[in-house]
């Protein structure tokens, strides 16, 4: 019973269950909340990237529109101002160079006639005349004037990898186009726009033209090496004026989250992209933090739950421990009241129950004592009265015989012998009773049990053979030692031998076994023990009598006192041993005694 609580599997223990329930109560809401938070953060980041990119595209559109409008307005106002064609060359050069210097917008400004001849230019290169000498170019510009009133080219990338845009305004006189004010607009400021929109350390922002060629990129190397956006889907979408977002692999190991949007009606696109590993790093950090928080919470909750559960379980354990103590015979053990709850009430009830049980036991003991006394009185009166009667009768016969003149000596000796035997019988009875009622103190010593058996059987062998009983000893002739009181063990062996002989009135076989074992269950533990067995081939004991054979004064024999096996039981108990009994009707009975070696 002491081991009962220890035998409960950990998972079945109350403490474990309470602990788990506490942890689950803490963890599940945290887990759900954490996941919701992380998912919300991820969605928020995606949306932010998309929003930021749309804003980026809008800003780029606004910027390019502004650059274009500013450049056009400046060129237009310059073209119309006092008609630049009416100025002398130096004034023309002053005007366009001042415009060039004052506005950090132009890469070049030139005044041309309608044949493409260069009148004045901000360029100091002598080779400039060649550029404008192409007739098709001038024709195209003049056609645009006729059609739209102005001209501007697509954005292109110059030899120096700079984004450029050509703008031309007609110079008119009396409503007729007499010249062209031609400006190359430097859109390098777009680079600043993309730089401002770069996200993270590894993010990229770029603007590409309708062929996918980068015109602005946070990674200048891609501009200077004239790279293109290799994603036909995005380029096609941009051409259709559509925006969107995607996650794609830029290289086998780099996954990008990207968002793109068209820039105005120019057919260009703006795109922001960032490695997912970096873009979603905040979400991952948040997840990590949540995990950390969960871990710490679970740890704290576990600790709290452990102490709290232990606090709850402690009185229960006290209750269980008390019951175990009680069950082991400590009837005076009482459970201290530690709580005022149901468990405290249970402890009180248990203590009350224990009180009642003791009362009941005492009552039972008194009844048993009275019963025993009655039985003892009955047995003693019977066992003593019989020899006394026999003694009285034989003493009367002896008196008559001694009164005869001629005394028959043989008869006198016979009756005298009977008297002596009866007295001895009474004496043995008193000795046995005393042995049970007031057993002598046990003095243990190392004893070779096999030698004790040999000694006893040697004394009984003649008598048993006379009764047709053969005694067999089944054990090795080597000393089998045990720490016992030799006198008492001698008594046990003698009693069981005599009991077996008496159980075979018609003869038979008594087999005495002796061995040593390491696995005998004595008390609450397994131990090394000496095992003695006495197996007779008598009639056996009925099942209903099996439980009584060790009772005081229980005997099925007319001449028995009913104390022999009770004495055996008592001596074995004194040695912390154990006695087992097996019996089968008409086959025999076997007593097995386990005595601890130490």
């Amino acid at each position: 019973m002491q081991q009962l609580s220890n035998k409960i599997k950990i998972r079945n223990r109350l403490l474990t269950r309470l602990l788990l329930s506490h942890i689950l109560i803490v963890t599940i809401p945290l887990f759900i909340t954490g996941n919701v938070l992380v998912n919300t953060a991820q969605n928020s980041i995606r949306q932010t990237i998309l929003d930021r990119n749309l804003e980026f595209a809008n800003r780029s559109t606004r910027f390019i529109d502004l650059q274009l409008r500013t450049a056009t307005d400046l060129v237009k106002s310059q073209a119309q101002f006092q008609s630049i064609f009416e100025m002398n060359k130096s004034t023309q050069e002053l005007a366009i160079n001042t415009l060039f210097t004052e506005f950090d917008l132009f890469r070049q400004l030139s005044v041309l006639d309608t044949l493409g001849n260069l009148i004045a230019s901000t360029s100091f290169e002598d080779s400039l005349h060649m550029k404008f000498g192409r007739k098709d170019r001038i024709t195209g510009i003049l056609a645009a004037f006729a059609r739209d009133g102005r001209y501007h080219s697509d954005v292109y990338v110059s030899d120096e990898s700079l984004p450029m845009l050509d703008v031309a305004e007609p110079v008119t006189r009396f409503g007729e186009v007499v010249g062209i004010l031609y400006a190359i607009v430097d859109l390098k400021a777009m680079w600043d726009i993309v730089d401002e929109n770069k996200v993270g350390d590894r993010g990229e922002a770029f603007i590409f033209n309708n062929e996918g060629v980068y015109v602005a990129h946070t990674d200048r190397r891609k501009l200077y090496s004239n790279q293109k956006l290799v994603n036909p889907t995005v380029v096609a979408q941009i051409k259709q004026g559509k925006s969107g977002q995607l996650i794609y692999h830029q290289s086998p190991n780099v996954e990008m989250v990207a968002a793109y949007a068209p820039i105005g009606n120019y057919g260009w696109g703006a795109m922001l992209q960032q490695p997912t590993s970096e873009a979603f790093a905040p979400a991952r950090r948040m997840r990590f933090r949540v995990m950390q928080f969960m871990f710490i919470s679970v740890l704290l909750a576990s600790l709290l739950a452990f102490f709290y559960s232990r606090w709850i379980v402690k009185p229960v354990k006290q209750l269980v421990s008390g019951m175990e103590q009680f069950s082991q015979g400590e009837l005076n053990y009482r459970i201290a009241k530690v709580t005022d709850d149901e468990i405290g009430t249970l402890a009180e009830n248990f203590n009350e129950m224990a009180e009642r049980l003791i009362e009941f036991q005492n009552k039972l003991k008194r009844t048993e004592v009275l019963e025993t006394l009655g039985k003892l009185a009955s047995v003693l009166s019977h066992e003593i009265r019989n020899p006394l009667n026999s003694m009285v009768i034989n003493m009367q016969i002896l008196k008559r015989e001694l009164a005869k003149e001629k005394i028959n000596k043989e008869r006198v000796e016979k009756f005298y012998g009977i008297l002596a035997a009866e007295i001895k019988r009474v004496d043995q009875l008193v000795t046995d009773v005393l042995l049970i009622a007031r057993p002598p103190q046990t003095r243990k010593e190392k004893v070779a049990i096999n030698e004790v058996i040999d000694e006893i059987t040697m004394m009984q062998v003649a008598d048993s053979l006379g009764k047709g009983i053969r005694i067999e000893r089944e054990y090795e002739k080597v000393p089998i030692l045990a720490n016992v009181d030799i006198a008492k063990i001698r008594q046990v062996i003698l009693n069981l031998t005599l009991n077996a002989i008496q159980a075979m009135p018609g003869g038979g076989k008594l087999t005495i076994g002796l061995k040593e074992t390491t696995t005998a269950m004595l008390g609450n533990h397994r131990t090394k023990a000496v095992v003695l067995s006495f197996a007779d081939s008598g009639d056996g004991i009925s099942k209903k009598d099996l439980g009584k054979v060790f009772d005081f004064y229980y005997s099925t024999k007319d001449t028995g006192t009913g104390l022999g096996l009770a004495i055996v039981q008592q001596i074995v108990d004194e040695h912390q041993g154990r006695i087992a009994l097996e019996s089968q009707i008409e086959k025999g009975t076997k007593f097995t005694i386990y005595l601890p070696v130490e």
Binding site: N88, E93, E160, R220, R221
Partner: protein, 409 residues
């Protein structure tokens, strides 16, 4: 005679020499260990490949024209590239460069592009803006500010052999007609100081009495008119004897700052009725023009050392760097007096007197002293490329002291 590099572009060459300096260390197995090259970017407008000099511990060593005794040979040369290879016997460490490739670019933007595309390991950039652009676009590069040598002055040299530049009134008009403050503010973002003469005001030789040629277009016009230049035909350009006043101003090709200065000079002088035609030329073309006296005006840098020789080289009638043909009897006297006295105080006074005469006669128009330039280095590939202590702190180390992080096999 070809123009000495220090005449018209000494500053550029000195700079180049600082960061391209190579110390000769005989190393037996340099070549056996393979080519370990460093690619230096430069501009054709800044450096003439034929006049390239490399500073070693022995001094500035010309790359092309010098004689024997150099630790390197020119392995390969074209119009825009020159490869120096150290002799096999040179003692070059296994992690130091043994080959230097100089690449020359037409424009600063092309050089920036080469830096960003990792085609060049190091280069000097004039403006902080360009340096920032490279560093922002290519994380391999870091910009390091490089203080200009003292008295590095930007100036316009006029050819006194050709009228009207022989007339001090015209030169004075030109100096008054150029808005120095505007170009310092607009082009150099105020990172320069106004120049009154060859020495800046930190120099012990600086003459505090020098006249400041601040922008005074009216005074300039007055000088022009006094010299007989007026706009008789109302074409906006002053003329004299039927000849319009037109100046061809040569400036170093591909140098953004020089182009911007030329443009402002053009704008300023057009307002006076002077037609300025800026024309970019490579350093070699510029040097040729200077030596041949085939020019009207040249925009260039010059470093004036704080000694009489440096002044006389430029301003003495027979000065070896006097490409303008300027000759002043007063100055000649001062140069002579200087040679005749040993008194330091008198000598200082004489130098300051020379400064005063130059200031009054304006043989050149002094524009400004620039403070800083910037050199870029691929710090992913090189280390130990600059002095971190001592008198040369901040300056580049000789190339043989550079250490290649990633060994080139």
């Amino acid at each position: 005679m070809r123009a000495n590099i220090s005449d018209s572009g000494r500053r550029a060459f000195v700079l180049l020499a600082i960061w391209t300096s190579i110390v000769v260390i005989p190393l037996p197995s340099a070549m056996a260990q393979g080519v370990r090259e460093i690619v230096v970017g430069d501009l054709v407008g800044r450096t003439d490949i034929r006049d390239l000099k490399v500073l070693t511990k022995q001094g500035l060593l010309p790359v092309i024209s010098a004689g024997n005794g150099r630790p390197f040979t020119v392995f390969n040369r074209s119009n825009n590239q020159l490869v120096l290879q150290f002799h096999a016997s040179a003692d070059i460490g296994k992690n130091n460069p043994n080959t230097i490739v100089f690449k020359f670019y037409e424009t600063e933007r092309a050089l920036i592009s080469a830096l960003i595309l990792d085609e060049v390991d190091t280069a000097v950039l004039e403006s902080e803006e360009s340096a920032r652009e490279v560093a922002g676009s290519n994380a391999h590069f870091l910009p390091y500010p490089l203080p200009m040598p003292p008295n590095t002055v930007k100036m316009i040299i006029y050819n006194h052999r050709r009228p009207p530049f022989d007339n001090p009134a015209i030169r004075t008009a030109l100096s008054y007609g150029i808005n120095h403050e505007q170009l310092i503010k607009k082009v150099l973002a105020n990172k320069a100081s106004l120049a009154k003469g060859p020495y800046d005001d930190n120099s012990p030789l600086f003459a505090s009495s020098l006249r400041s040629y601040k922008y005074k277009p009216r005074v300039a016009l007055q000088h022009l008119h006094e010299a007989g230049w007026t706009d008789t035909d109302s074409d906006g350009i002053v003329d004299k004897n039927g000849r319009p006043f037109s100046i061809t101003l040569f400036y170093p090709k591909g140098m953004r700052i020089d182009e911007a200065i030329s443009r402002l000079v053009k704008i300023n002088l057009i307002k006076l009725g002077i037609d300025v035609k800026p024309r970019p030329l490579s350093r070699s073309e510029l040097d040729k023009k200077l030596v041949a006296g085939d020019f009207q005006a040249v925009l260039t840098d010059h470093v004036f050392k704080e000694n009489i020789e440096s002044l006389s080289a430029v301003f003495a009638a027979k000065g070896e760097q006097n490409y303008s043909g300027y000759a002043s009897p007063r100055l000649e006297n001062y140069f002579r007096f200087y040679d005749q006295t040993d008194d330091p105080r008198q000598r200082k006074t004489l130098i300051q007197s020379i400064e005063t005469v130059v200031n009054q006669e304006q043989p050149v128009t002094f524009l400004y002293f620039k403070w800083l330039t910037h050199y870029m280095v691929d710090v992913e590939e090189f280390e130990n490329f600059r002095h971190t202590e001592g008198p040369n702190r901040g300056n580049m180390r000789p190339f043989e002291e550079w250490i290649i992080k990633k060994r080139v096999e």
